[in-house]
Subunit: 421 residues, 2 copies
Amino acid sequence: MPSTHLELITIGTELLLGFTVDTNSAFLGQVLSNAGMRIVRRTSVSDTPADIRAAVDEALTRTSFVITTGGLGPTRDDMSKQVVAELLGLPLQFDDVVWQAVLARYRRFNRVPTESNRSQAMVPVGGIALPNQWGTAPGLWLESPRGVVVMLPGVPLEMRMLTEHEVLPRLRARAGASVIRSATLRTSGIPESTLAERIGELEDALAPLSLAYLPGTSGVDLRLTAWDLAPDDADRALRDGIARLRERAADWTYGEGDTDLAEVILSQLRQSGRQLAVAESCTGGLLGGRITSIPGASDVFIGGMIAYANRAKEAIDVSPELILAHGAVSSEVAAAMAAGVAEGSGAAVTVSITGIAGPGGGSAEKPVGTVWFGYSVDGAVDTQKSVFGGTRPEIRERAVQGALMGVWRRLGGASREPSTL
Amino acid sequence: MPSTHLELITIGTELLLGFTVDTNSAFLGQVLSNAGMRIVRRTSVSDTPADIRAAVDEALTRTSFVITTGGLGPTRDDMSKQVVAELLGLPLQFDDVVWQAVLARYRRFNRVPTESNRSQAMVPVGGIALPNQWGTAPGLWLESPRGVVVMLPGVPLEMRMLTEHEVLPRLRARAGASVIRSATLRTSGIPESTLAERIGELEDALAPLSLAYLPGTSGVDLRLTAWDLAPDDADRALRDGIARLRERAADWTYGEGDTDLAEVILSQLRQSGRQLAVAESCTGGLLGGRITSIPGASDVFIGGMIAYANRAKEAIDVSPELILAHGAVSSEVAAAMAAGVAEGSGAAVTVSITGIAGPGGGSAEKPVGTVWFGYSVDGAVDTQKSVFGGTRPEIRERAVQGALMGVWRRLGGASREPSTL
């Protein structure tokens, strides 16, 4: 087994019961891959000593390098440290440096540690306590003839911080000459199957890179991965592969990597010296929320109206008569919303969303998922319709992404109407 | 190993790389526990045949009942079915009923299946193909002398639907007399450590129930779990336990189970015949988005203003002078926003949010995380300040929850100002 291979064990009965989604695993998968390590298996077990012991024992037998998360706090069901120390044949001893750090933290929060907190200062002989300034329980780096076990707390913030500050630097020193690298192309507005037809036989030409289609509510991401290449070769192959994919999907490609479409639009607005405002019905504020998830949006994002009830649409000059004549979900109302919020806010660019997010409210003519978008750019108003699939939250997220794609196209991101769909 | 114990194996290199968060595991953990089954271990492996084979083999040796997700589609890296059939010694044979279903689905979407799609109609001898009307690849229920293997597709919607329609009915028939049941109390506005002090020694009195503290951006959930009790005993113990916890945390408890605070508030509004509008600055629409995530909110939720840039605040009568005098993040501006949106919308209840979500923009006097809330209820306006910790998205989510808690208290959900914090 190469020294860059490792197994991940996440400890917690809550994980097995499904009460906690295992985001720690996803985070570690990403940062460890980027550091050239390869997680070959991931296991989740309950908080019981026998289960923890069996999982670590088996993983060490297979891979001899194990990272665990969870089971390091002071509460009664946290016993991973004892179990692992015993398994590795390392007796625990009281570490005064760690204890002083625990005491300092409690002082800072004006609290008094209890006797049970002393267990957090017990460190297996020969192990390294990884200082945790974001919580009380330190991480542990344990080496023994059976292999390496790195133990991290389960609290996401503490786990992330310890990984970045303590674990990755030590791992980078271990990693060899080959890396796992990925590059992603982000598309939106084109179904996975249509995209696959357009890319087709290219997949063979991309070898040795592997191609994955990753559909989600923001569109379909295309991920290329280079396995076990030297860093330069990997980078070159990925650059070339991404360029080939881009050619086939240019009309729907808004970015690479983890680019957020909202961020792309904010740049377009800044470059063209325009400001944006929104008018939202079925999304109820999610579009504004998405745009303002980007720090510093306020220079080009003004704000807008949440026009959820029909009454609220009057505030942006959408008359009850118009709604009565065409329905709230219509091209006419979408256009009036976009024009009304442009008038009210003075923004050069506006976008409106009015649709049926379900589960009720659909009809044969306007099924659940029907969404009308209105756009106003420098006074020119137009509208567009989409019918999205999925649940209520999925339809709303797709509508937000659809509105952003519409703005992106109108600000020159790609041709206004992709011709080949 | 009791017949209700099983292991879960999620297949997919994307999972190990952390590109996909394993929400399938969380879903299965919940519904299987509710059905009286107990997941004793969860493993994630790559798409390679050797890894899939090893994981299923080991799991069957330990537990003799395995559910897998992923690896059933038509693309080249999907080979779980072949591997598992081989492992169980079951030859594959072409199943015309399954093939006709695949053809029908393709016809429905006006597409023509390729030769590679025929592999989806191959079923291990003696196995049951679980019909999948939400995708092309059927699930599989395989029984052999080594144990049971249930194979589900990895696409979340298909996995969920097959679980509900095909797997759970079969599992319920197998489950014995004892169940795993949980009950949850939802609190907000009180730190985990303070809550733990209030609940304190009660934890021993709750036995044999186990108590877990689950902190998140919406507050701290308290989860009681009954293991291996008869259904009636479990229900009684949980009811009693929840009542005891409620006594200790009444001032911060807004619901039980998976109750959404937004839903609680919509009910309060309906019962009191009032309507709600919002004015959001740093949350940019997330509060409206959260409220409208509840279907049918439009009868009491009017909408409101996204007043992100200072200029947009003028639309709800917040003057530039007021902002200049006190700062956009101030009691005065929060009050003016709440009053202004009440005036503009006619809503009896309004709430405003103005704060510093970070990462920039903080000062010694107003650090990142400082949020002012304004409330207007039947014309009476008041404000409240909180300082939230966390990242920008966490601060924004906590601010949304804080605004909802403020409305909840003012509509009689609990005392206006909890006295003991």
